[in-house]
Every structure is written in C-alpha cells, then in structure tokens.
C-alpha cells in the first residue's frame, strides 16, 4: 500500500479530534459506546480492505474513470454527484468547526468574516492545485509536524493530569448494547483512505493489502479511537464529560508543560490541528471538486479555458455555500447536522462497496 494512503487515513483520524465526533461519543458513553467502538474498529479495517482490494485491480485509475468504463452514465453520474456532496460536506464540517474554535479560543475579538477571509486564498489555492502536489504537501506537513505531534501524544499519555480511574470507569460500561450513531461516528474515522477514489490515478504501483497492512490499520485505528475517547475522559472526568463542547481543546488546555517555551499546550495543539484541519479541508474539497467535475463531464472539455472556468465556478459555489452555512449555523446545529451526516456515512459506504463489487464483476468478465 502506498504510504500516501496511510497519510490520508491518519489525517482524517486527527482532523476528527476537533470535529463533533468526540462529543457524539461522549454523549453515548453510558449507552454502549465501548462495544460499538470495538465493532466499528473491525468494520473500519474491513472497509479499508474492500477499498484497497477493489482499487488493486485498477492501478492508476480513479473512480470516475473506472465508473465511466464499466457502468452506464445513468448510474455513474448520480453516484459521483452524491459522493461529491459527501466529500464536500465533510470538508465543510471541518472548516466550520475550526472557524468556531478560532473564534472561541484564539482570537475571540476577530470578526467571522475576517477569519473566513483568512482561509479563502490558501484553501482555494490548495483545492485547485494538482492532485500530485496535494499528496506531497500532505506528506511534508506530516513530516514537519510529526515531532511536535509525537511529543504531544507522549505528553498526554504520561501526564499526571490524566486520571486513569476515570478511564477505568468509562470502561465499566462495556456491557451495554451497541449504538448506531457511535458506530457511524467511529466508522467515519476510517474513511480517510477513501480519498483514493480520486488519488488512485496517481498511485500507479499495484497495492497489496495483506495481514501486515490490516494490522497497521487496526493498530492505528485502535490507537486513534482510544486516544479520542479515553484521554479526554481521563483529564476531564467521566461524569458530565458530555456537556463539554470541545472536549479535546479543554483537554489540551489541561496539560501543562512545566518547562516548555510555551506553558500552555493548547496553542501547540490548536496550531497543529489547524495544519491538519486545513489539509483535511483541502483534500476533501479537492476530491469533491474532481468528483463534481467528472459528474458534469467537464473533463471531456478539451478547451483549456473552459476547464478553468468550470474550476472557478466550482470554487465559487463551494465557498458561497460554505460562507453562508458558517454564518448561519449555530453550535447546536453543527452538532446535530454532524450527527445526521455521520449516520449517513455507513449507508453510503455500503452502497459504494456494492457498486465496487458490481464493477469488479464486470471488469473480470
């Protein structure tokens, strides 16, 4: 498996820390979160297995390309369109959450328009970049932030501020029956690798998905789930943790670097997450952009100018919707809509996998 697939997977897992998913999990902490997380972990590895196995048969081809080869237009175009919306919303959700966080924790006095304006040029540039370069950027940001992130994680786990008693209490709820919302939220952690429906056109080497790869994804996923769920509980306590809006931010604010250049870890965390969130938005929107372009058949347009215009239209539409939503949505709405969104994810994934199966059958004939 190409290392970029792992990067995509990890970036999605990290970006989820700030989104609504921890809060959804905590809301269900007494209603079966633990069991469901374990089930979803296996399901997450499974969907990645399906994904990679499918794309293994088509090295160097993106999903729109494959669909256009093996399926009729009537199925391919709605599929691409729906996927485009899913990816766009995913990016938008991260964007809105982060803007909200900036407003609350870093620059409370700043106007929301200014914060949006800060994102527009950089993200736009990222979205219209070549796919190859987006992957390179992802890798570079990972390399640059790895030392800080590793330090942060170690600090979290070995910090005396974490009360493992509370973690243990959370675990005593293991015998509750599973819950669908938790399942879909945790599944969402694993969809990072699905970005290859577009990026596969760059991954020309044949991928393999054996025990080793499955194990890596399993360990990564288990670690991500454990950290996402249990560390905030350890720091903030099990009781009433669900009432906290941004558990991860309060968690990092509770960690202290006694002798660091900066005493408050929260700023390191926020800036690090800004980088990851930014990448996540860029990648998701880039994928969405490509999906829409192929759904509307813009790729067939030979004239360069038209391609640029279509790109421009997509970007303008993206931003108009995003700005409108950012200004309208309240924190509660965001939480609610995120929940709906997460709930729809497993269904869409299963639909996609069925489609993949069909395509695979046809390709073999």
């Amino acid at each position: 498996m190409s290392r970029f697939v792992y990067f995509l997977l990890i970036s999605n897992m990290i970006a989820n820390l700030i989104a609504s998913s921890p809060r959804i999990l905590f809301g269900k902490s007494e209603e079966g979160a633990i069991v469901t997380m374990i089930i979803a972990l296996f399901f997450g590895v499974f969907i990645n297995w399906v994904l990679i196995t499918f794309f293994k048969a088509f090295p160097g081809k993106s999903l729109p390309h494959i669909l256009s080869l093996y399926l009729s237009k009537w199925i391919a175009i709605p599929t691409l369109f729906i996927l485009g919306i899913v990816w766009y919303v995913s990016g938008m959700q991260t964007l809105i959450t982060y803007i909200d966080i900036l407003l609350r924790f870093i620059t409370p006095e700043m106007s929301v328009y200014l914060i949006i304006a800060m994102f527009i040029p950089v993200i736009t540039f990222g979205v219209i970049m070549q796919s190859r370069n987006i992957l390179f950027t992802l890798e570079l940001v990972f390399v640059l932030s790895f030392p800080v992130a590793a330090y942060y994680v170690v600090k979290l786990y070995f910090s005396e501020q974490v009360s493992w008693n509370h973690v243990a209490i959370a675990m005593t709820f293991i015998d509750n029956p599973p819950d669908y919302t938790v399942f879909s939220t945790v599944t969402y952690l694993f969809v990072g690798a699905f970005d290859i429906i577009i990026f596969n056109s760059l991954l020309k080497k044949k991928m393999t998905f054996g025990i080793k790869q499955a194990l890596i994804i399993f360990i990564l996923g288990a670690f991500a789930i454990f950290t996402t769920y249990f560390i905030p509980i350890g720091v903030l306590g099990f009781d009433q943790v669900e009432s906290i809006l941004y558990p991860w931010i309060l968690t990092s604010d509770s960690i202290r670097m006694k002798f660091g250049v900066i005493e408050r870890v929260i700023f390191i965390f926020l800036l690090l997450l800004l980088a990851i969130a930014f990448l996540n938005i860029t990648i998701h929107w880039h994928v969405a952009c490509k999906l829409f372009q192929s759904a509307f058949g813009i790729e067939q347009l030979k004239i360069k100018l038209r391609e640029k215009i279509s790109l421009g239209i997509v970007v303008v539409v993206f931003w108009s919707i995003a700005i409108y939503t950012t200004l309208k949505v309240t924190e509660y709405d965001l939480f609610l809509y995120s929940k709906y969104y997460f709930n729809s994810i497993p269904i869409i994934l299963i639909g996609l996998m069925v489609l993949m199966l069909v395509v695979n059958r046809r390709a073999k004939v």
Partner: protein, 457 residues
C-alpha cells in the same frame, strides 16, 4: 571550401577583402599577407584576442622556414588548432571575433583557434566558502571551466554540448552533463528552453538563469547558481544539467529542488553527527528567519496568552512608550536591518565593518533608548538577520527575505492562526512549483531517483 573568383597572386582575394571590410573600422583588426616566392598566405584576425606569440611560432615562422618542396597548406590543415569552418559570412566573422585566425591559402580557407583570454584565472570561492572543501571556484573563461570539470570528472560519458544563443553578444554557452545519468527528456527540455529564449543580451549566468525561469513574477529560484566545482560535480553526478556561460564565473544547475538550496558543500566533508547538527541548525534558522517577525506580531498583538506570564510582562514592559503598533515596529526594524545588510554587502570590506557596527550597535541601542522600538524587538530582528545568513545559497536567502514580509502581512491581518495558514500557503506554493518539470519541494524517502521513477511509471 574554395573560391570561385580568380584573383591575382598578391592582391587578397575578394572574399578575404569582403570579410575584412565588415570588420572595419575597428582598430585591432589585422590583415596580413605572407609572401615567399610563389607561396601566398592571407591572415585575418583581431590582434586583441589572438595570441600573437603563438601565431608567430605556429604560422609565421614555419612559413618562412619551410623549403619550397614542402606543402605549407598541408601543414596548416594538419594543425590541431583548427576550428570547424562555419557556413556563411556572419558566422565566420563571429568566429574571428572570438579569437580565431582566418587563414587563406590559395583558394583554401581555414580557422585556427589561437585565442588568448585575459581572465582565465581561477577565482577564489567567495559566496559559498567552505573550510574543508576546495578553496577555488570557477574562472571567467569557459575553456578553463570545462578544463576544471574534465580534470575532476574522468568519464567518457561527460558530454560538453555547445549552444549558440541568438542574442547580440554571441556568447559561448555550454551544456555539461553526464550522458549516462541525465534524463533525456529533461535535457531536451532545457535545450529547447535555451534555444527559444528571446533576449537581447546575455551577460552572465545570472541573467541567463533569470530568463530560463520563464516566469516574470517568480520568487523562488528554480535553478541554482554556483561558483563551486564540487557542487557542480555533485549535481552532475546526480543526473542534472550544468549550463556554463563564457565570461561568467558561475554555473547554472538545473533542475533543482528546494533542498538543493539548503545544502552546503561543507556537508560532504564532515562526519554524520556534525552534519546532522549543522543541517538541523540550518533548517531551524530557515524557520526562524521566516517566522520570527510574524510570531512577534501575532503573539504580542493577538494572543499574548501564548507566552509565559513572566515573558509576557517583560515584553509588555519593554514596549512601554513605543508609540507604534507592533507591526509597524517590526516593519521598521526589518527594513532597517535589510538596509544594513544591503549596505554592508555593496561596500568595500574595510568600510562595511564600520557600517555594520554603527548601524547595528549604535543605532539599535539608540532606537531602544529613544523608545522607538523595544528591546525584545531588537533581539528578534538581530536573530532574524543572523539566521538568514545560515542559508547557504544567496538566491534562496533573498527569496526567504521576501517571504518573511509576506508572512508578516498575513499575520498582521489574521493573528497567529494567520501565521500558521500563511506558512501552509507558502508550503503549498513551493510544492506546487516545478523546476523544468521536476517537482520543486517534496520528500525523498528512498533514493531520489527511485522516487521520481515511481511518479513516472
């Protein structure tokens, strides 16, 4: 080549006169007719670029010492100095201006390369000095430079490919590469780029490099200018193409990646841990000099919570009485330090030390005393100035200095989150850039070659 017109023995043939006419009225032109018995030889050259002693030894002396039954023409044509005879008057004239001697015996003509170059001394490496590496750089003569290359790279696959540029100076340009290692499509691309250049005058490698960039508003250099033969060979062995321009002591290396600019040749001469430390310092310096002014503004004016309480109070205390907002203070001090750097660079060595002292020490202290700027700001600016010089290649140095200002603007507008996004934007810009089709910034985990091939296949 032979001439159609029949001419009398003594008079120079019409072709010869025609060439000579076109060179006039320059004063250094020499038209010589050597005559002995029935032998007549016409010479046409510019005495300022021709080695007169050699001409005397090789052509004039044998002409008179040779006995009548020996064939002087045969002798001349067998000389190793011969240059390939171009077609067309214009080209022949260009060859003459380069230092070739035009020889005409009867109806046969030839060019003898007897040029003399005044500036062929190998110069000391000034811009990229190292402690342990070679101390000498290139010379201003292309022949000497090629000679330097050949001396250090004994391989038949080292190919020197001359290119004639269509500008008014008709300067010699040579592509040098290792034929086995260079990628053919890359070579083709670079060759095409040079040949399609539409420029008036190329003076040196520097402006050729600028023209090769092909983009008017490009901040980061996509090809590298160096004066060090070891750097040239290091890159040539890596499959890159070297472009030499006659009269310039710098070579252009293309294509380049961002990391090439962060490499000092010194790195090759030290042990692993020392190099690791130095590299770490260099990248730390890079980040410091880009981000520090921005951090100062972002932290002091938007989020002072980032600082430790004691530091926040110290910074606040040092800013007491400073009438300007932090970003004006930073701009003011940065421009001041840029001026200082520029001034000390252009001044002769003996004066520049004084300028730096006066500017840096006295003005800095006075500015703090006068409450025009804060102590902390002076520290920040000095740190920035020092860390800028850690970047080994001066073009990258300049680019980074510009970036610093851009990032500062972004931070001034949006705070520390803006700084982070600005850095990411910079990263995006660099990654999105390419140098002759090769990605400019990316990670190379495995062998560089393998990575690139993985993309192509």
């Amino acid at each position: 080549m032979s001439m159609d017109e029949t001419t009398s023995h003594t008079e120079p043939p019409a072709y010869f006169t025609r060439l000579a006419k076109r060179l006039e009225p320059t004063s250094d032109i020499v038209k010589k007719t050597l005559k002995s018995k029935d032998r007549i030889v016409h010479l046409l050259y510019l005495k300022s670029v021709v080695d007169i002693m050699q001409l005397q030894e090789i052509v004039v002396k044998p002409f008179y010492e040779m006995s009548a039954d020996q064939n002087f023409a045969e002798y001349i044509f067998s000389l190793p100095y011969e240059t390939k005879m171009p077609t067309g008057d214009e080209e022949v004239l260009i060859e003459i201006t380069k230092g070739n001697v035009f020889v005409m015996i009867d109806k046969q003509i030839t060019l003898l390369e007897l040029k003399v170059v005044a500036a062929n001394a190998v110069q000391e490496a000034i811009m990229e000095p190292t402690i342990h590496g070679p101390q000498l750089g290139l010379s201003e003569s292309i022949e000497t430079n090629i000679n330097l290359m050949r001396q250090r790279y004994h391989k038949p696959s080292l190919i020197i490919e001359p290119i004639q540029l269509e500008d008014i100076s008709n300067r010699d340009i040579a592509l040098i590469y290792d034929g086995e290692k260079v990628k053919p499509h890359l070579l083709k691309k670079i060759r095409a780029r040079i040949l399609t250049l539409d420029v008036e005058l190329v003076q040196a490698s520097g402006d050729l490099q600028y023209y090769l960039n092909n983009k008017k508003y490009s901040l980061f250099p996509t090809s590298l200018l160096t004066e060090r033969p070891d750097r040239i060979l290091h890159n040539m062995a890596g499959g890159k193409v070297i472009i030499l321009v006659d009269g310039s002591p710098h070579a252009i290396i293309a294509p380049t990646t961002f990391f090439d600019f962060m490499l000092s040749m010194e790195d090759a001469y030290y042990s692993f841990w020392v190099v690791t430390l130095i590299r770490f310092l260099r990248y730390a310096g890079l980040f410091t000099c880009i981000m520090l002014p921005a951090i100062y503004v972002g932290v002091t004016s938007y989020t002072p919570e980032v600082l430790r309480s004691e530091l926040a109070l110290t910074v606040a205390a040092s800013r007491i009485g400073v009438p300007y907002p932090s970003f004006i203070e930073v701009f003011f001090m940065l421009i001041f330090i840029e001026l200082l750097t520029e001034a000390s660079m252009r001044l002769p060595n003996s004066i520049s030390a004084t300028a730096t002292t006066v500017g840096g020490l006295i003005l800095g202290t006075a500015a703090v005393e006068a409450a025009l700027t804060s102590n902390i700001m002076v520290i920040v600016v000095s740190l920035v100035a020092i860390s800028t010089f850690v970047i080994p290649i001066s073009e990258m140095n300049y680019a980074v200095r510009v970036c610093r200002f851009l990032l500062l603007v972004y931070t001034t507008l949006f705070g520390i989150a803006g700084m982070m996004l600005g850095m990411l934007g910079l990263l995006l810009y660099l990654v999105n850039k390419d140098s002759f089709g090769e990605p400019y910034l990316r990670m190379f985990w495995k062998n560089r070659r393998e990575e690139l091939e993985a993309d192509d296949s």
